[in-house]
């Protein structure tokens, strides 16, 4: 309707092209750091530390593969990059400086326990805030929201004292046990979602003699799939990415999670080649990105709109 007159149509499509170019630029800028990280992880050590190396990995010195200049062309280049990448990732996986498979196992254990705890406990607590009516509910909910603003830095030092007293320092417990008591943000998201479920459903079930536990289990939970998935993804990312917690509360090197392991890998050996550090880093990022891509549909449904109502 707006592209009515002819001259406006031309100007309009020019503007559209300009906007589209801007959009593409934003996409490239935001993707560049990660793309560059992957790129460096595929280089050879000398290539990674060569000034002005350009954007694409060079292949040289990999057994059985000729350089790009050779007649092999694109296919040989791709094979060369793949071989180099495989060598880098293999070296990190079996590096004597960092036990990657063990760190991966540690991260998985901590993350799975945290996600399970956060989803179960937050779903229950959110029922109390979103589906039950009781005096004082709003006031307590405000307190819950206020806790979102408490700087982690303030409680982390005395938390250390608490965990030490509990005998939890040097175990995984400080990293996952608190998640079984509901996370404020997860509770908030789930409550917002519960509020969108029609009340008539639980009222009918209650009239039929269903208990609150029954309503929660048979009606609310089955209808809250997207929000539960969103909470699980957020918790997965938060836990997988946590750096300060594992750095403070674990003290044995065999207990390291991937985030702490990567930091050690980076700092302990000043001369660690950057191509290997990047390969390590890519392997830390990949699971989070994979989970996000798989759960994106739920994520947008569960957070994009519902979380922002009110």
């Amino acid at each position: 309707m707006r592209a009515g007159a002819g001259h406006r149509g031309v100007a309009g499509s020019l503007r559209r092209a300009g906007l589209w170019a801007l959009l593409a630029a934003v996409g490239v800028l935001y993707a560049a750091p990660l793309a560059w990280m992957v790129g460096v992880s595929l280089r050879s050590a000398e290539d990674a530390a060569a000034p002005g190396g350009g954007l694409l990995p060079r292949v040289r010195g990999v057994e059985g593969v000729e350089g790009v200049e050779g007649e092999g062309g694109l296919g040989a280049y791709a094979r060369g990059v793949a071989a180099q990448g495989a060598a880098n990732y293999g070296e990190v996986w079996s590096s004597p400086l960092a036990d990657f498979p063990l760190y991966l196992k540690n991260s998985l254990v901590v993350t799975i326990l945290s996600v399970a705890g956060a989803v179960v406990s937050s779903a229950i607590v959110a029922y109390g805030f979103g589906r039950l009516r009781w005096r004082g509910r709003e006031a307590v909910f405000v307190v819950l929201l206020a806790t979102l603003m408490i700087p982690q830095a303030v409680v982390v030092a005395p938390q250390y004292v608490l965990f030490k007293w509990l005998g939890w320092i040097g175990t995984f417990a400080p990293l996952w046990a608190p998640m079984w008591f509901g996370g404020a943000f997860s509770i908030f998201l789930l409550r917002q979602y519960y509020l969108t479920i029609p009340r008539e459903l639980d009222e009918a079930a209650r009239l039929d003699g269903c208990s609150h536990a029954g309503v929660f289990w048979r009606i609310i939970l089955p209808l809250s799939g997207p929000a539960l998935a969103a909470v699980a993804v957020l918790q997965f990312a938060a836990c997988w990415n946590d750096f300060l917690g594992p750095m403070l509360f674990l003290n044995h090197q065999d207990d390291r999670t991937l985030a702490v392991g990567l930091h050690m890998y980076l700092t302990q050996h000043g001369g660690t080649p950057w191509n290997l550090v990047m390969a390590f880093s890519v392997m830390v990022v990949a699971p989070v990105v994979a989970v996000y891509v798989l759960a994106r549909r739920f994520f947008v449904e569960g957070v994009g709109t519902e979380g922002l109502r009110e």
Partner: protein, 292 residues
């Protein structure tokens, strides 16, 4: 028991996991922290009451001032830059252009990247000799500095890096932009408003609550910044990126001065509270409240 009391009891029972967790893992440590801030405590020996000594010492501690100033600079610069970039990106994404969904996903992606990975990535991006940033500048004939190794550029580099992780705010603002009633734009069209005028008279006022929300959250978060300075610059060069949370960490876990660290942390809370309330107070006067 009255039905009302029974309802309260049932409600409290359902939220009891959170109540217990809050008491044990947040409230308890917060109270403990307040008490320890009046003590000399080094984790290994027992705490000794020293009254206001920690707070008095803090007042004259030059590193406290450096950390406070750096943190305020970081927080305000990254909040302003973040708000501007978020607004621009969100507006662009809501134009209904082809490919916007893909770009939205790309912009969100960095918020999922573990902080250590992000730091590793940016350390190499910003590397003076081999980094991509200086390579690109080199094509334009500009010789870039050693960003993180130069006291004049290090803090700015961290601020720019913070604008890479605006996925959350973009999501919030995008939802607000989509929620602006069409009728308002139609009315503005009838009045002959176009471009900037339309934006200033309709879009901006309608999304201003979301901008304020993003701003407040961004300030709260960036006042707590820890990972990037700790990992990438270790507070250097020449304390240029020594920030508050790193200083608290150093006192608690490196210098073994838990009591002093707790005092520092409480000053942090109070400063954050004052800044947040101040922002909200100013915001209330600037933000357009729907239905008001």
């Amino acid at each position: 028991m009255s039905p009302g009391a029974r309802d309260v009891l049932r409600g409290v029972a359902w939220i009891s996991p959170w109540l217990v967790g809050f008491a044990v893992f947040t409230l308890g440590p917060a109270v403990l922290s307040a008490a320890l801030s009046f003590c000399d405590y080094g984790l290994l020996d027992s705490a000794v009451w020293v009254g206001l000594d920690n707070y008095r010492e803090l007042w004259g501690d030059p590193m406290f001032r450096v950390a406070l100033r750096n943190t305020l600079v970081y927080a305000s610069a990254s909040a302003v830059l973040g708000a501007a970039v978020t607004l621009g990106v969100a507006l662009l994404l809501e134009r209904g252009l082809q490919g916007a969904a893909l770009v939205r996903a790309i912009v969100f992606l960095p918020t999922l990247v573990p902080v250590v990975s992000a730091c590793v990535c940016w350390m190499w991006l910003l590397n003076g000799r081999f980094g991509l940033v200086n390579q690109v500048l080199g094509w334009a004939g500009v010789e870039g500095p050693n960003w993180l190794g130069d006291a004049r550029w290090a803090m700015g580099s961290l601020v720019v890096m913070s604008a890479w992780t605006i996925g959350g705010p973009v999501l919030v603002l995008g939802a607000a932009i989509r929620n602006v009633p069409r009728a308002l734009y139609e009315a503005a069209d009838l009045d002959g408003a176009t471009g900037l005028r339309r934006f200033g008279a309709v879009t901006l006022p309608m999304v201003s609550p979301a901008v304020l929300f993003n701003g407040v959250m961004s300030v709260i978060w960036s006042l707590q910044v820890f990972g990037p300075p700790f990992i990438m610059t270790k507070g250097g060069p020449e304390n240029a990126t020594q920030v508050y949370a790193v200083y608290v960490y150093q006192n608690a876990f490196v210098y073994g001065r838990m009591g002093y660290a707790c005092a520092l942390a409480w000053v942090h809370v109070l400063a954050t509270l004052v800044l947040t309330l101040g922002l909200l107070w100013v915001g209330k006067r600037v933000v357009y409240a729907r239905g008001a």
